[in-house]
């Protein structure tokens, strides 16, 4: 069986003033060469026009290779074009390792857990 990665929208306590612009999704399984392209399409499909901030709960993701990172970088670019960002939450040791070794951990806002990630997004996006 090939690796599978499942994307599930999550309801998280996002601050009221940014709630409509924030999409929170959880990734579960393994993100690799065999399914990374499909995940990109799944993320793009989940994004609404109103979303400027994307929070990815990766606590259920047990593996991510360089292809997966490439896809996450392309999603980051997409959010930057919307003047927003991607926040990653709950990286396990193996994920943190590959993000650190590749130097790409600095390309994302990284939070220990979903609650902290959502809080960071709320704090970053001041009401206008």
């Amino acid at each position: 069986m090939t690796a599978a990665v499942v994307l599930t929208p999550v309801s998280a306590p996002v601050a009221d003033h940014v709630a409509e612009h924030v999409l929170v999704v959880a990734l579960e399984g393994a993100l690799d060469y065999t399914n990374a392209e499909r995940l990109r399409r799944d993320v793009e499909a989940a994004l609404g026009e109103e979303h400027r901030e994307l929070v990815l709960d990766l606590s259920g993701l047990n593996f991510c290779d360089s292809t997966g990172i490439r896809i996450l970088l392309s999603v980051r670019k997409l959010m930057q074009e919307r003047h927003g960002a991607v926040t990653l939450a709950g990286l396990n040791a193996r994920l943190a390792r590959i993000f650190r070794v590749t130097g790409l951990i600095s390309a994302f806002t990284v939070a220990p857990g979903l609650a902290e990630a959502v809080e960071a997004v709320g704090a970053r996006s001041t009401p206008r």
Binding site: M1, T2, A3, A30, D32, Y33, T34, F63, D65, S66, T67, I69, R70, L73, A93, R94, R97, I98, V101, T102, G103
Partner: protein, 146 residues
């Protein structure tokens, strides 16, 4: 002690391949971050075969009790010795990026080439007292927490 050589075909079932590598490496005594490093590096080598190495190949793993070796062979033979970049390539999509990553993660990466076949060998020491590259070298021989 693991000493027998195991071999699997490289297909798009990378998840099963990673499980096989992990199972063997654990039995050989690799744990913690170094186990993660080997699995990540071997997966990158397998991706290279799927993406640039003709789409088919084999991954063989063996251990002599001191060094665990993963040999990833393609059926193309384009990859040459000395192709592992010492600096991170700027393009993240090219073959050089995966090779660079393997070099960062493993104790050594070597490439053998004969007509029609290139083989990448990833080596990791498994014996006690190995210096962990996670910045813990100054802590001596204490076991790394898993």
């Amino acid at each position: 002690m693991v000493d027998q050589r195991r071999q699997w075909p490289i297909t798009d079932d990378l998840a099963a391949l990673r499980e096989n590598i992990q199972r063997y490496a654990v039995q050989a005594g690799l744990t913690g971050p170094r186990l993660d490093d080997l699995v990540i590096a071997a997966n990158e080598a397998a991706i290279n075969v799927l993406e640039h190495g003709g789409g088919a190949g084999t991954l063989a793993i063996s251990c002599d009790g001191i060094v665990l070796a993963v040999d990833v062979a393609d059926h193309v033979g384009v990859l040459r010795p000395g192709a592992v970049p010492s600096e991170r390539p700027s393009g993240r999509g090219d073959r050089g990026f995966g090779l660079w990553l393997m070099g960062e993660l493993c104790d050594s990466v070597t490439i053998d080439r004969v007509p029609g076949q290139s083989t990448i060998r990833l080596s990791m020491r498994v014996d006690d007292g190995v210096v962990d590259d996670g910045g813990a070298a100054s802590l001596g021989r204490s076991a790394h927490p898993v």
